[in-house]
Symmetry: C2
Subunit: 384 residues, 2 copies
Amino acid sequence: MRLKVPEGSKGVLVKNLYLVIGVPKKNQERASILKRTMAKGEEVRNKQIILRDYVSGFPKESDMALKTSTMRLKVPEGSKGVLVKNLYLSCDPYMQSRMRKPDGASSLIDSFTPGSAIIGYGVAKVLDSGHPDFKEGDLIWGMTGWEEYSLIPATETLFKIHYTDVPLSYYTGILGMPGVTAYVGFYEICSPKKGEYVFISAASGAVGQLVGQFAKLIGCYVVGSAGTNEKVDLLKNKFGFDEAFYYKEENNFDAALKRYFPEGIDIYFENVGGKMLDAVLLNMRLHGRIAVCGMISQYNLDQMEGVHNLISLISKRIRMKGFTVFDYYHLYPKFLDFVWQYIKEGKIVYMEDKAEGLESGPTALIGLYTGSNVGKQVVVVADV
Amino acid sequence: MRLKVPEGSKGVLVKNLYLVIGVPKKNQERASILKRTMAKGEEVRNKQIILRDYVSGFPKESDMALKTSTMRLKVPEGSKGVLVKNLYLSCDPYMQSRMRKPDGASSLIDSFTPGSAIIGYGVAKVLDSGHPDFKEGDLIWGMTGWEEYSLIPATETLFKIHYTDVPLSYYTGILGMPGVTAYVGFYEICSPKKGEYVFISAASGAVGQLVGQFAKLIGCYVVGSAGTNEKVDLLKNKFGFDEAFYYKEENNFDAALKRYFPEGIDIYFENVGGKMLDAVLLNMRLHGRIAVCGMISQYNLDQMEGVHNLISLISKRIRMKGFTVFDYYHLYPKFLDFVWQYIKEGKIVYMEDKAEGLESGPTALIGLYTGSNVGKQVVVVADV
């Protein structure tokens, strides 16, 4: 190969061009895009994962489709947005709610637009910027599209990445939205105290694994539930939980909780809802706290399961608080300092499940609802 | 009649002896007891309402019985308790839970003892005292027995009555447990702000009528639900609620709430549970608060109705807090100053439903669960 841009090409020749040689087609394409993205303003192919139509119940792969459009790698004149190349996309349970037809009442955030790219958290590199706070080459995390390139018209939801000596994909998890969620959910909502009894459902997920470790760091007794024996093993042997159990093998959640919490539960970090919540309510201690972060067992149901034991809220004087991370991003700098230190000291471990290529996005996302991911589910779109 | 104690009698002759003449039997008995109680240490007849056996579901009259025993009107040697003559007994919804067989888990307080007198809040007069803080003639309110005379071995649950220029029965309601409940439930749990939208279920009850008036006093928009048209009328025309509705005439609570709260509900003061709670959850505003005070619609059920819309806790960032007044009695002096002033200024009205005579207790108590009381249900046992 001649280390020279061919006559008439608007591309640039880059060092990692070797990827073109002898690598799978997907990576060839990626390398070829990479090359082309170097030319600011050029119109390039832009592969996207779009939502076909609104979904009821859990999404299926066929609810999404790969679409190829084009994108001019330049922020439109007068726009204060940024144009980014997406590197990592985050699969998060809440995304199912954005696939539903808007009902105006229970939605946390707007639904996706059928026919358009799915929106979610991701890590990306700025190729062009109309905003003074961002410049070409900046790395950011925040809301972006499930596509190779995104024009992000409003930069309010974007955070600049300063620490880069960790895998950048961490900004979809421990250093991003799930990290802040775990941090505020545990420290702000649960008011934890040393020695308290903490239960976490869906505990090996992006949020749960961190909540458990935060709780251990302040000296709580921590038990998690998870959906495979492999995850239970991880909770006990990698994330340092005191105990963990495989909920699908328990036919009586109340009995299981009584086994692990003979003294009762002070703090429940709720990720699943339904029958587990009902059993937890029977096992809470006086003045217990429940942080309601998610209810993943219920998202596929047209009518959610009934919860029968709310009377315990009175007898046990329980505080139950739903929250979303959107209200707490002002704490991000404080959180980042906090968690960064622990990562550096090796006091917090973190586990990701990486799917390769934008095309793998639908399968990866759907896997969240069947529990096939082990750790934080990330889709790798491109190298930086 | 000779105005002289008969030879050999240990009784005293009292001014209100005229009651004996030409009044119903019940009152004759009362007057006759009155006379006899004057003789400290005498053994007198003591009528009691006892629990026959544990109850499942709502109590029936036949679950209680009138029993006549005797009582020596003197605190036993060495006891730090007080011996009181009961004047007014309070019928409160929570009492049903004390009639159930103890299950060790969900009970707020101990169950009653079958065969013994029912225990509840009441207003009484001290006849003898083994405790330096109480002396003969003191008026108190607190936990006492459903009987004419009670020996109260522990005085921790008793409050001395200092303000007597209101009906003493008020200390079973606006100036007693339900008053403190309304006060802490609204001000401490709901964090109310001027202009907020407040919904109260079972709104004409002892607690609800006060919560609504507290909310109006700080400039909230207040709607209550109640179980008869008469109560709805009271809420609007006596207690100053902005709106009220008869829930039994609404076949769709969600639609009813949308009619009264087109902008949604900021604060829900929960007294009923079940379907109403489910509908409220659909109509809460962002950052809404739910104070869970009671769930009277559920107390008679072996399994409580399922609540299906808890996912709203997340999307609306709702704080839901169960509480019981027992944790807040340290605020009683502050509360009393607060509410006393409003009563004196005529800014708070209060409504009682008085049943005459200890014998009427079972019917009065049971009426709470069918909603037959209008205002705070009190049983008049004796005159002071």
